[in-house]
Subunit: 420 residues, 2 copies
């Protein structure tokens, strides 16, 4: 399959700058990993004439069009109508989809479906329907005049869910080849260091390929193999993974896992251990990220968000003398916070964060980006001192959260905890 | 002048999904605020033929082209060459720009300029030069055959700096209209209910316009006016806002605010009040969302993530008899959690959440989506019971978090707290 794909996003909110086109980013990465080349992104507003013209341009240069957005029930959601006109396909009502939307309203939203949602159950004649498991607007795929067209909803979670459940299998079905990807995740090395360490490997490979994606001080390496069977593709990936692990060592924390929190959940569950949190500048984000995972309650007991110094003493039980002597942002207080969280919750382990997320220095004059991350274990307590510099608040918090999880996973896998 | 603008981003990394097109988002917002309508975004890779074709399409429909990226010194940076060919303008060397690049290398990068950077000092004959204060590649603006063209560098910080210093003043000189937008935020009504309530108003309006955007049980209404001056545009928006407020009543929680947490921060700061949190199924997300705001520490003291029932008793201090009798997911426990959080942190107010986020029922057989949200105030304690149904975990958590903030803002503005 050597498609030339164009992604067309429909939505005035993109042209006003309210949101970035992250749907196109997501789909581009996914299509690339299927071996489909994406050559154009286009954004047009909720305007029938301009959408029609953009479709004409796209059909003249691409043979796979992925159209996102504009599938809602409201008057300005016009993607389907314009596409069906452009491709000469009438819309027909899908009773089962309509029933599904009614049910979604009743059971998930606890109210009756407004009548204008009926239009969402109208789809082009002869298409493959992509039901929406997490919203109301269905998507679909069809082929007409040598052009393959997919329509997907705009809200990112609906788009991703529908892509994984329906659109990806649909696209895979068009090809005879099997494409298998494996994600190798690492923390603590920058993207350019990873690329330097793997440079020869990355440039010379055509199948499997190896690509890097960076996010919040993490690097994700995606190895992708094309072969006649899944088994054959997996056999091609095994030596690539081994080579990456050899080059990056303990920076690699897992494969095919969503991130450090999930890797920690796996490690904790495997040993039936629990942990707790004591958070100052990260303000509950470690707890929130971990408990976003289904099954988190087996491994996470709870914790304290000790934002004010008084809460560090009154609720966590950190000694006042320690706070007075070293200040809230210090190595001894980070250690004491982790020890206290462990004690008051009865957890096996506890992590803590105290630091200056900005925008200003703290009252002791500590600079923005100075952060201490602690880990209390039965036999020892550890602390990392981070100097994250003048980054944005959310970036300082995000990186600090990842350091806490990194210390936890290093402890649980028996490698040095405080090293970076 | 009523420009029709197209933003063309050049870069294969965008088509591989490595990065999102945040340059287009930034420029779209900025151009809108200048009264310039952005009607298309296009992304093409570092490929001369496809860039040439995309320019031909753009010239046929737009009269203002903003081209970002592809201005670097390497072989795949070809924006300038292709543009100059397309518009029939030769490139000429700008000695002063070349001197600036040499200086930037010496003083900021501490090395000599490589010779291939000379190409960066070549610009189209007769253009307005935009020097790059934070990098090497200069940008420029020119007009040819009725089309205005701006070239800007791709790295976001360089783009923003050059836009503010050079491109915006250049564009202001071209436009006579201003566009002003106002966001009106509401919580507790679905997008289609909002549209039903405002239907006549929304369809008949051309200037100002009124559009809706939905997110996590919130609806954002954006009113936008075009006029000769900001003052005139604001005068056009005032009656629209009044009408929306009249139609939606206390569901409207604020204007021009990022969300419920920020609205709560404003209300709390205005009265010098503080609050605390006690979170079970939301797992720290209320705390994390609030502390993501700069200045949160003035209004938020801290809280407890009481994920395990034992932590509700041992750390928060909820009476064991209450937990035994009603179970952790219950109205009395939600109230007791809020009261306890208030007591142990010394805050004026406290919010609490306890519920079943799924994927499974809890050990007492309570269904997924059953959530109790509490608010403890000096004179009274409130509780909302939510049945959020079979939604996904993060959606149940997100909506619950917003209910907690909604109760807080209702309390602080003196309207009934438990109503929806």
């Amino acid at each position: 399959m050597a498609h030339q794909a164009e992604i067309i996003a429909v939505g005035t909110e993109l042209l006003l700058g309210n949101i970035a086109n992250t749907d196109a980013q997501y789909l581009s990465g996914e299509l690339s990993s299927l071996g489909i080349g994406v050559y154009w992104h286009t954004v047009v507003g909720d305007n029938p004439r301009r959408l029609r013209d953009a479709l004409a341009v796209a059909r003249s240069r691409a043979d796979l069009l992925i159209v996102t957005g504009g599938l809602g029930p409201t008057y300005d959601d016009l993607t389907k109508q314009v596409l069906c006109q452009a491709f000469g396909l009438p819309l027909e009502l899908h009773e089962d989809i309509l029933e599904g939307i009614r049910l979604f309203y009743r059971e998930s939203l606890h109210r009756e479906m407004p009548e204008n949602n009926v239009s969402q159950a109208m789809l082009p004649v002869g298409c493959t329907v992509f039901p929406n498991a997490v919203g109301t607007a269905p998507g679909c795929g069809f082929e007409k005049d040598g052009v393959r067209v997919l329509m997907l909803p705009g809200p990112p979670f609906e788009l991703k869910t529908m892509y994984r459940r329906c659109a990806e299998p649909y696209l895979r079905g068009l090809s005879r080849e099997v494409i298998v990807s494996r994600d190798i995740l690492c923390f603590g090395l920058g993207e350019s260091s990873v690329e330097e360490l793997l440079h020869d490997r990355m440039t010379e490979m055509e199948n499997p390929t190896l690509a890097t994606y960076a996010k919040s001080a993490e690097v994700r390496l995606r190895a992708t193999a094309r072969a006649a069977s899944r088994k054959e593709a997996e056999a091609m990936l095994a030596p690539v993974e081994a080579e990456v692990r050899a080059a990056l060592g303990s920076y690699v924390y897992g494969t095919d896992v969503s991130g450090l929190p999930e890797q920690c959940l796996r490690l904790l569950s495997g040993r039936q251990l629990t942990f707790a949190t004591a958070e100052s500048c990260t303000g509950g984000q470690i707890a929130a990220e971990f408990t976003a995972l289904p099954g988190a309650s087996a491994a996470y007991r709870g914790g304290v968000v000790s934002y004010w110094t008084s809460v560090k003493h009154d609720v966590l039980g950190v000694e006042q003398s320690l706070l007075d002597r070293y200040g809230a942002v210090s190595d001894p207080v980070a250690r004491a916070m982790a020890q206290s969280a462990r004690r008051i919750t009865g957890a096996d382990l506890a992590v803590s964060v105290t630091g200056v997320a900005g925008p200003d220095r703290d009252e002791r004059g500590n600079p923005v980006g100075l952060v201490f991350v602690g880990l209390a274990a039965p036999e020892n307590t550890f602390c990392r001192r981070l100097e994250l510099g003048q980054r944005r608040r959310d970036r300082i918090r995000g990186v600090s959260v990842n350091h806490a999880f990194d210390m936890l996973r290093r402890y649980l896998t028996g490698i040095p905890v405080e090293e970076l």
